[in-house]
């Protein structure tokens, strides 16, 4: 599928994960950028950039995904924020969801999971 003009931000401290997620987004036509932690995600929004989709890792140095998600929502950012983590969805991820996620995706991501999120955005 092609996703014309959609944009995404990959937020993950792992270089390999950023590379994979960016390549997956590229393969479905989503323009994207990547940052290494929650603070950089906040900073890029302060610079004026916005994104249709944010893939947010949970465990990151400087600022984790929970804090970054709360901050982005308090800034009025209405992007689809999908939490992305190797943790299975359970009570430990509840705080992440309550921070303002629209979706939770368990790593590893694949094209199918990316596509389902894109469909969600396109339905809006």
């Amino acid at each position: 599928m092609r996703s014309h003009h959609l944009t995404a931000l990959v937020v993950d401290d792992d270089t390999m994960v950023r590379m994979i997620h960016q390549r997956m987004l590229n393969s479905v036509g989503v323009e994207n950028e990547a940052v290494q932690n929650g603070k950089e995600a906040i900073d890029i929004h302060h610079s004026g950039q916005t994104f249709d989709l944010i893939l947010m890792d949970i465990d990151m140095p400087v600022m984790n995904g929970i804090e970054a998600t709360k901050k982005l929502r308090s800034m009025g950012i209405h992007s689809i924020i999908a939490g992305v983590s190797a943790r299975t969805i359970d009570e430990n991820t509840q705080e992440f969801i309550e921070a303002g996620l629209d979706a939770y995706l368990e790593k590893p991501l694949n094209i199918s999971k990316i596509t389902s999120i894109i469909h969600k955005i396109n339905k809006l």
Partner: protein
């Protein structure tokens, strides 16, 4: 040419064996599907990053388990990272060992952790070797054939490449 077809078949069979024996899972296929002319080295680049990350984590785990007072929470954090990154490239066996490793961390079972560390090091070493072989063959396959054919012709003169070419190729690989 017969030799090329045989080489391609051997490569296909070797790759398939990595899946059948549980070294790799579907996630590796996902990475391969993301590779194209615009990103011809994508899989190698990703796997190289994984090797670097895994070796760092294995060193951290070894150090953590050599301490007098083991910090199981820190140990678990490292195993969690290794579990995540191994699943990202489809290194299934490593991922599986990490699951039991995490259980041992949760139970603060030192013996269990030491055993798991040994297992994960073994699985890592094995899959690394197999992937390096795979990448080497993919990269140099066509060149290998040309070199071998030249060598065979120089040594034996014009010859039937059907069987001899394959057996020589097999030993080189």
């Amino acid at each position: 040419m017969d030799v090329m077809v045989q080489l391609q078949r051997q490569l296909f069979d070797y790759t398939a064996s990595l899946f059948h024996e549980g070294f790799l899972d579907e996630q590796f296929n996902q990475l391969q599907q993301l590779q194209d002319e615009s990103n011809p080295d994508f899989v190698v680049e990703v796997v190289t990053l994984f090797f670097e990350d895994a070796e760092r984590l294995l060193n951290e785990l070894t150090n953590a388990l050599s301490q007098e007072n083991i910090d199981f929470r820190r140990l678990d954090a490292h195993v969690h990272q290794l579990k995540g990154s191994s699943s990202s490239i489809g290194a299934q066996r490593i991922h599986t060992v990490c699951i039991s490793f995490r259980n041992s961390c949760e139970e603060q079972n030192v013996e269990g952790c030491l055993k798991s560390l040994q297992q994960v090091k073994h699985e890592y070493s094995t899959v690394k070797s197999k992937l390096e072989t795979l990448f080497k063959v993919r990269r140099s396959g066509p060149f290998l054939v040309r070199v071998l054919i030249c060598n065979i012709e120089m040594t034996y003169g014009e010859t039937d490449f059907g069987c001899r070419g394959v057996s020589v190729l097999g030993s080189v690989i």
